[in-house]
Subunit: 135 residues, 3 copies
């Protein structure tokens, strides 16, 4: 059929245990490289302690409030059974979600005025990937 | 390739700070207008303090329980840094998610018996949009 | 256009009120049966008290920690209004999400090394379905 392009892999390096990284421009570059003019893009996180989200791109305090509040809701409890001690990161990942499906028109990601695409690191620092597939 | 239709924009007006609105019929109308017979539809919320979900369409008490419990889990704390005072709404939005990908067959949205599509307003009242793209 | 395959329905039986079931192989089998070589697959849960997720496929303690912590965050409160007494299950479902969009290349689901696809039962035991549509 020929209309699908190979998946692209974006490299993301995180510097802290928990971090919110704006990857909007990296995803847009992958969309442009994939030559998708009109359709959808799946943005996918192949990790079990990191997730993807779309939210406020203006005030960095929103990111700090998010990480602080998630850590109060889902603390690193000593009663968790998982021996790696990062069950909090797995649970935050499940609630945030592994994938986004976004709309493309005229070769551009369609995002709201205040929206950016975020990589949510919950168990770094690590070398991570984000996979991008247009269709 | 010609098989993609332009994105449609649905207008949604909310009346309260927090509100759950059933938009199932509006999304179905957009799918029908887009003449999609068989495929998928991306339903996307371009806002940072409102989200989308699929859930119970029968008992309105489910909506009330959802909003009440989310507000207990994620209250409007005075310790949040974000100066607009709506960090709770951003966090609820991130956990609920900005987009849904739904299946279409024979021109109809494929939903479970008890499912409806909901717009979740967390910082209204506002004039909002929901974007719909079939493929 | 002829490139879309009919939706497939996977049967899932749950044995407990809350349960995390690995359905990765069932989804891969549906992808293979749908003869999708390259594209995306929408995996959809048509229920209002069960959801889908992607996470750790190695240590079963992660599943136990997830269910335990979600029940602490969202308990079966007597103050919920919904008369069926399962508002906790509806709220857990909304936060986990009803659908996943995954990438397919060379006929295989593209998942991270430690990732599996999970069916999250929050109000079983029940006979459930998961819908799979490739494109």
């Amino acid at each position: 059929m020929g209309y699908n392009r190979p998946m692209q892999k974006i490299k993301v390096s995180t510097q802290k245990r928990e971090q919110v990284l704006d990857i909007t421009q990296l995803v847009q570059a992958a969309v442009s490289k994939g030559a998708c003019h009109d359709g959808c893009v799946v943005v996918y996180c192949p990790h079990t302690t990191a997730a993807l989200s779309v939210n406020e791109n203006a005030d960095p305090d929103v990111k700090a409030d998010l990480l602080q509040h998630l850590s109060e809701m889902i603390p690193q409890k000593t009663t968790f059974r998982h021996s790696e001690g990062n069950s909090d990161a797995h649970i935050k990942t499940i609630l945030s979600g592994p994938s986004l499906t976004l709309i493309i028109e005229n070769g551009r990601l369609q995002l709201g005025t205040w929206q950016g695409i975020y990589f949510l690191e919950f168990d770094g620092p690590r070398e991570r990937e984000v996979w991008v597939k247009t269709s």
